[in-house]
């Protein structure tokens, strides 16, 4: 379980998260939505331990995040950045093997068990077929699955994803979100992800929080959060809900 208590966080003299409270239950797929600059990425960075709050506290299973060493944290929690680039042309397998780093001491080689975990992560994400190809030879949809395999190789309890569907076409968006949903069940993961597309969020997550100016202005089941008046409050855009739950924008509020 992840719990944030009155978290305040900012940089460059600007407050990004303002006394934010949030609770995420184990095993759920939790979405973060909100306009640009509302604090989604900062919130994910805070949960991943990369930014520490100026005030307030973040708990992971009753332990304060700040008490965990980076290695310990990396065994509990895997996080993927919105844009990941690889500066050298590693093979897919070499990259996924990096997911085992938090489980090995500096001088230890990968064990047989590590290799099994890597192969499992590759096959779960359907990337085993191109495990020996290099990362730069893959399409962006294939790469996205490789990053997921890397995260799975960490054997985390929590998976944090910053807009996993950005830059993917419609088919890959559905494919990757379907895969994440499948993995959440089979691998017993808690998934926290930010999404830009409200319609995808509406269909895909168990619960979500709508962020605006560093605060949660609505939290709960997607169909109760993504209603016209909360959306207008956060995005300053009027929307209408169609039958079958699609939201369409009607004009700037």
């Amino acid at each position: 379980m992840i719990r944030l208590e009155r978290v305040r966080l900012g940089y460059d003299g600007r407050l990004v998260l303002r006394d934010l409270d949030l609770e995420i239950a184990p095993g759920e797929i939790f979405g973060l939505v909100g306009p640009n600059g509302s604090g989604k990425t900062t919130l994910l960075r805070a949960i991943s331990g990369r930014l520490s709050p100026h005030a307030g506290a973040i708990y992971l299973d009753l332990r304060r995040l700040s008490e965990l060493s980076p290695q310990e944290l990396a065994r509990e929690l895997a996080a993927l950045e919105q844009e990941i680039s690889c500066s050298f042309d590693f093979t897919v397998r070499e990259i996924v093997e990096l997911g085992r780093l938090p489980h090995r001491a500096r001088w230890q080689r990968l064990s047989a068990q590590d290799h099994r975990r890597v192969t499992r992560a590759l096959s779960l994400t359907d990337t085993l077929a191109f495990a020996d190809r290099t990362i730069h030879s893959l399409s962006s949809g294939e790469r996205q699955r490789v990053w997921l395999a890397l995260a799975l190789a960490q054997e985390p309890k929590v998976l944090l994803l910053d807009e996993p569907t950005a830059h993917l076409d419609l088919r890959y968006q559905f494919e990757i979100l379907g895969l994440i949903r499948h993995l959440a069940v089979t691998e017993d993961l808690t998934v926290v992800l930010s999404l830009h597309d409200l319609n995808l969020a509406l269909r895909f997550v168990d619960r979500l929080a709508l962020l605006s100016e560093g605060r949660v202005i609505a939290c709960g089941a997607p169909e109760t959060v993504l209603v016209p008046h909360t959306i207008e409050r956060a995005y300053r855009v009027r929307v209408r809900r169609l039958e079958g739950d699609w939201l369409i924008p009607e004009g700037v509020a």
């Binding site: 990369r50 070499e94 500096r106």
Partner: protein
Amino acid sequence: MKRWKSVLALGVLSLLLAGAIALGIAVGAVPISPFDADPRHRLILEQIRLPRVLLAALVGGALALCGAVMQGLFRNPLADPYLLGIASGATAGAALTIALHLDIYYWGVVPVGAFLGGVLAVAIVYRVAQTRWARLDNYALILSGVALAALFSAVTSFLLFYAGAAHDARRLIFWILGGLGGAQWFYVVGLLGTLLVVGAALLLFARDLNALALGEEMAAHLGIEPRHLRKVLLFAVTLLTAVAVAVSGTIGFVGLIVPHVLRLIVGPDHRLLLPVSALGGAVLLTLCDAVARTVLAPAELPIGIITALLGAPFFLFLLRRRAQLGATL
């Protein structure tokens, strides 16, 4: 299969190194075979040629290893100890200790001066290129390195100009042009010791460099502290570069070419790339030194000229290829 690749690469390069060293011993102003019994030849062999050839191998290994680490650390295949000003800082530091005659009390102040100069260069480059959230801007990094290299060579040139006394001036020129003519056994032992200790430490961090290829944020998500890693590795690289510069002066481009070429052959995994680069650098510089001693024999060409003749066109070629691929620094 992977294990085999490592064994093969390390084996082939070790053989090449043995060959290069044998060649380096054999050629020179006086042709000598390793089994020569003539006592005068044995003296040349033991006191001049052998330390020199070994020093060439060690300097080449140290510089190439440092280059491989810097390329991984800055996620930039064009980084090397010279490009970021470490080596020019080290040269200026070494030159200063000589110009101030500090080295007449104890030879060890020269590497210390080199190290401090290198640290100063890194500190400045680091400070200039640091952006929000303690990240480093690659453009600023390279360009400030270039500016610093110019600044430090100005310092070195000024010292040369100021030195006046023929003896000092000659020793300073040695540092500026780079050379292995001053090889002595205790240089060999000192650099070997540093290379073994620092190299072993660097190997322990090879896996962190692999993770860093995905960016500092991703490396951090894998349990690595990028800031800590950068400090440790920069310290190690500066130390090793400084000792190499202190015994051989300015020898450019080895740290750039060798890791770059070997990455294309053995792949980017730093656990293999680091040791392979060290061996490859040793082979390259041993051969360059053999050329330096023979092309104008009995006169000697400064080795820095040869590495620059090889390296500068290679560097331009790399830049051109990157430009064609549309890659930015």
